[in-house]
């Protein structure tokens, strides 16, 4: 037996953990929370663009996981199930915002003008330039149509497989591929001045 094998501890899969949680092991729940909290906040943040609200949505997602644990069936991957919950909650939050007519996007667009005016100065540090580019990309993603936004986030930021994305958004694989391709082209057009 190699030393590496001796050192590496046994790691439960997500599906094994949810199964243990369903059987009453609440340590399995904590492990799932630890595994997915950061992934989900990066996912939800791309929709909402606000850290605090995104964190609240992730909290609600984890709460749903706790309350609805028995709704999960092992016919689907756990990751697609939890991403679906998070996506639905993020969409609900977006709809609430639209109703209140105080969307963060309009707020951010005012803020973004500050970035647009100075452009990239020669003396600007690389770090600042990267931050600027990130803000622009995030803004461009948030302005994509809903059916493009979800798939591009899942593919290019979360790096999920096409099959998983197809399960999460509930559309055929071919449609997912087509949407991702179109979303990339639209982003490229929106970010043309960045290059």
């Amino acid at each position: 037996m190699s030393l590496d094998k001796q050192k590496s501890p046994f790691v439960y899969t997500d599906e094994q953990l949810i199964s243990r949680f369903q059987a009453g092991d609440e340590r399995a729940y904590i492990e799932l929370v630890n595994r997915y909290r950061d992934r989900l906040i990066n996912f939800v943040y791309q929709f909402l663009g606000d850290f605090e609200q995104s964190e609240d949505v992730v909290q609600d997602t984890m709460l749903k996981l706790y309350e609805k644990k028995h709704y999960y069936r092992e016919i689907a991957k756990f990751s697609t199930w939890i991403y679906t919950i998070a996506r639905n909650l993020a969409n609900t939050e977006l709809r609430k915002r639209k109703r209140r007519k105080t969307t963060l996007l309009s707020h951010m667009s005012r803020e973004e003008k500050e970035y647009e005016l100075p452009a990239i100065q020669p003396e600007t540090g690389q770090e600042v330039q990267n931050e600027f580019a990130e803000k622009r990309i995030q803004k461009a993603i948030q302005e994509l149509p809903e059916h493009f936004k979800t798939v591009i986030i899942l593919r290019d930021i979360q790096e999920l497989s096409y099959d998983d994305i197809s399960s999460i958004v509930g559309v055929p694989l071919g449609t997912v591929k087509s949407r991702i391709n179109r979303a990339r082209l639209q982003l490229q057009a929106d970010l043309k001045d960045l290059r």
């Binding site: 950061d38 990066n42 964190e55 909290q59 706790y66």
Partner: protein, 179 residues
């Protein structure tokens, strides 16, 4: 290949999903259209930038707030995080209860399994102490002290009298039918 066909295949090309023949056709189109080549590079750069975007992490008290929320919503008095300290798989409270039960069981079992007529040494001692009269006690004046203590008797009170033993010997009184 026309422009629409080219655009439809951009992601497949970047992700190496095209068949060999399609790939050759695609690359031939790129050679003929420098703007198409620029478009591919630009899409690639965006994808790369998205992958390297700063990853956010939740705040340090995320789990605490979540657990507080769960307890609030479900009125639970216990934390979903079980105590890590256990004794043979029991929590400290249950371990003490189990220990108490085991001790009680052993004590009760000892009472049941003590042989009859042979009381526990402690009981024997107490009985002896109670039965020995003390002269200093005025209420015991009339106690007959002449009665010898069985323990001091020369003969063993347990040993049987040989005469009695003989009387119990029925072998000579037994007659077989044929006799």
């Amino acid at each position: 290949m026309n422009r629409y066909q080219f655009e439809d295949l951009i992601s497949d090309y970047i992700e190496n999903e095209l068949s060999l023949s399609k790939r050759k056709e695609f690359e031939a189109y790129l050679e003929d259209n420098p703007d198409a080549k620029e478009l591919i590079e630009s899409v690639r750069a965006n994808m790369s930038q998205m992958k390297t975007m700063t990853k956010m992490t939740v705040r340090a008290d995320f789990n605490d707030r979540l657990l507080a929320k769960i307890q609030k919503d479900h009125g639970q008095s216990h934390s979903p995080i079980p105590s890590q300290r256990t004794f043979f798989g029991f929590s400290p409270v249950h371990a003490s209860l189990m220990t108490g039960l085991v001790v009680a069981f052993v004590f009760v079992a000892a009472q049941f399994f003590t042989p009859e007529g042979n009381p526990l040494p402690s009981q024997s001692r107490n009985f002896a102490e109670e039965s020995i009269p003390t002269l200093s006690n005025p209420s015991l004046k009339n106690v007959n002290m002449a009665t010898p203590d069985l323990a001091e008797a020369e003969e063993d009170s347990v040993s049987e009298d040989p005469k009695k033993k003989l009387s119990k010997d029925f072998s000579k009184k037994m007659h077989f039918v044929n006799d």
